[in-house]
């Protein structure tokens, strides 16, 4: 423990104490009956434009994002900036599709995507597929939030042997579990306001102060190897890195809002207007993420990864690899008290999405597995109670995952999670617009996309891209993007077949339910 940065640690612990208190008192914020699932797990659908902005922003832009995107820039260069077109595309998608989801969910009291699919298609197995995909894709995502937390705890200089090394993470986790259990979605909504304020502060200070220290952006980029500054132009019969960049952006954008935590954030808004307004206001977070991506280049310019120049960071890089770039950069560039604030921003930034993810998974289990298959008529109180317990189980599972599974596997699983969750796109997003698709065709399309996507990922050792061969061309691209096209193709062809055979069509919703 000799390397502990005490000033930073004290600031970090004080801020953590504050949000712990906030998480518990949030139960009384916009008071509702927390024995109802729509209150515990959806905040009573009472969050207006401003609170939704903090909640959805705090939910989508996770701690892991703030660590991993600059880490990718640090390690691989320009490709990391795919996060920018990705986050440009998501907001028009949100603007167009999600007010429709909000309206139909409000009208029929749907709490989850599984509820919507059940109502729209009248097929419990399709709803089950969507539900299980949501839960399975979310688990490693929660685990990665803990990885983000681990990196900053390591950055504070806390180390030790055996279980003592994991103690800070376990403490943070118990806090998270307790306030989520007590306050439901109100806790991350309240904490998101603190988290986002700290993150904005950290990001803007970092992109102003560090370039001044380094003599401007011109100097910084002059120190970056030219191969990392731009994407390599494609050669021969290949779309090269360009295709990777584009498919990563489009595929990630298609996947993002299908994650249960995004759905929960969106459905907890107080109106469809709040969702539409946020599509125009949330890009503020994208701008911050884009600026944070530049931190990877600052870290290259300073050379924090150079063990000769910075022997004090060698252990951190050995343990956390490129993910240590941002903590090392902050420790090098900021006074200790501000390191405490910046690390708290990332640490709290891990808890907000982790809380929402566990609530969203709990809502899914309770509504679409427990209620559908085990106990069709729970009382409201029983339903809320089951969700509270499941939120604990989900988080405990993620903790075990992080403590006992090596980090690279958590990252592999999260990439696989993207391949899986995108397969719900045809059912959920197309379902917001049309009931043309046959439910069994969608289910078979989902199964095909999931199976092929998983196999393809395994073949390339869980790299996110696949070198697709087509007519003498090589088209390297995001596996999730290619497999959802396959999924669509299967669903369309089989829908034509099944509809020609006169398949029955059930639908609880009416066209007017989706409109203002």
């Amino acid at each position: 423990m000799k390397d502990v940065n005490w000033v930073a640690l004290v600031v970090f612990v004080l801020l953590f104490g504050f949000i712990t208190w906030l998480g518990f008192v949030a139960a009384r914020w916009r008071k509702g009956d927390l024995d109802l699932l729509s209150e515990w797990g959806l905040g009573g659908r009472r969050f207006g434009t401003v609170v939704s902005w903090f909640l959805i922003g705090g939910d989508l832009y996770t701690a892991y994002t703030f660590v991993a995107v600059p880490a990718l820039a640090f390690g691989a260069g320009a490709i990391a900036f795919f996060a920018v077109p990705y986050t440009i595309i998501i907001y028009p998608l949100m603007f167009l599709a999600f007010p429709r989801l909000w309206r139909v969910a409000h009208k029929h009291q749907y709490i989850t995507a599984g509820d919507f699919v059940k109502g729209r298609y009248g097929n419990r197995w399709l709803a089950l597929a969507i539900t299980v995909t949501g839960i399975v894709a979310t688990m490693p995502y929660i685990a990665l939030q803990l990885v983000g937390l681990q990196v900053v705890i390591g950055g504070l200089g806390i180390s030790g042997a055996g279980w003592v090394a994991d103690l800070p993470l376990i403490i943070a986790f118990v806090i998270l579990a307790a306030f989520t259990y007590t306050s439901g979605l109100r806790a991350p909504a309240a904490i998101a306001i603190v988290k986002d304020t700290l993150i904005y502060l950290t990001a803007f200070v970092a992109v102003i102060v560090i370039p001044i220290q380094l003599g401007g952006f011109g100097h910084i980029f002059a120190a970056v190897p030219p191969a990392k500054v731009l994407l390599a132009a494609p050669t021969g019969n290949s779309t090269g890195v360009y295709g990777v960049y584009i498919t990563l952006a489009v595929g990630s954008a298609m996947a993002l809002f299908l994650y249960p935590h995004s759905m929960t954030g969106m459905m907890s808004a107080s109106s469809a207007h709040a969702v539409r307004r946020n599509a125009a206001l949330l890009p503020a977070y994208s701008l911050m993420l884009g600026l944070l991506a530049l931190l990877g280049f600052f870290a290259i310019a300073i050379g924090v990864g150079d063990a000769q120049k910075f022997p004090e960071f060698a252990a951190g890089f050995a343990q956390y690899k490129a993910n240590f770039a941002v903590p090392a950069l902050f420790i090098h560039s900021f006074p200790s008290w501000f390191v405490g604030i910046a690390f708290a921003a990332i640490g709290i930034g891990a808890l907000v999405p982790a809380a929402i993810m566990s609530i969203a998974s709990a809502n899914l289990y309770t509504r679409n597995i427990h209620r559908e298959f085990f106990n069709p008529n729970p009382t409201d109180k029983e339903e809320a109670q089951i969700a509270k317990w499941v939120s604990l189980i989900v988080k405990f599972g993620a903790l075990v995952f992080v403590l006992f599974v090596p980090t690279p596997y958590a990252i592999d699983f999260q990439l696989l999670g993207g391949v899986w969750i995108i397969q719900t796109f045809p059912t959920v997003i197309m379902g917001l617009y049309t009931r043309w698709f046959n439910d069994w065709a969608l289910l078979i399309g989902w199964a095909t996309g999931t199976a092929v996507g998983t196999a393809m990922s395994a073949v390339v050792q869980f790299k996110p891209t696949w070198p697709l061969m087509l007519g003498g061309w090589t088209l390297p691209g995001y596996t999730a993007f290619y497999t959802v096209i396959l999924n669509f193709a299967v669903a369309i062809v089989l829908t034509l077949v099944f509809n020609a055979m006169g398949a029955a069509r059930r639908d609880q919703t009416a066209a007017a339910d989706y409109r203002a």
């Binding site: 320009a78 900036f81 920018v84 077109p85 986050t87 440009i88 595309i89 907001y91 028009p92 603007f95 167009l96 429709r100 370039p211 401007g216 952006f217 011109g218 100097h219 910084i220 980029f221 500054v229 731009l230 994407l231 132009a233 360009y242 960049y245 584009i246 952006a249 489009v250 207007h273 539409r276 307004r277 599509a279 125009a280 206001l281 890009p283 503020a284 994208s286 701008l287 884009g290 600026l291 530049l294 617009y433 989706y514 409109r515 203002a516």
Partner: protein, 68 residues
Amino acid sequence: MANHQTKQSGWSWWYLIFIGLFLVSLWVPLYNRVDPTFIGLPFFYWFQLLLILVGAVLTAIVYFATEA
């Protein structure tokens, strides 16, 4: 009554703006270059950051144009 029409069909011609935004943000050869730089930032970086702001403004325009 453009607003009225939006309600009826769920479609508005204003949404075409988004397609333009998608094409520009995904046309990599357009911006995969160093020059012109802005305060030392290569074009690749500042152009895409600027595009975030443009996207937000366009979304706001479509919001006000289609809001009932």
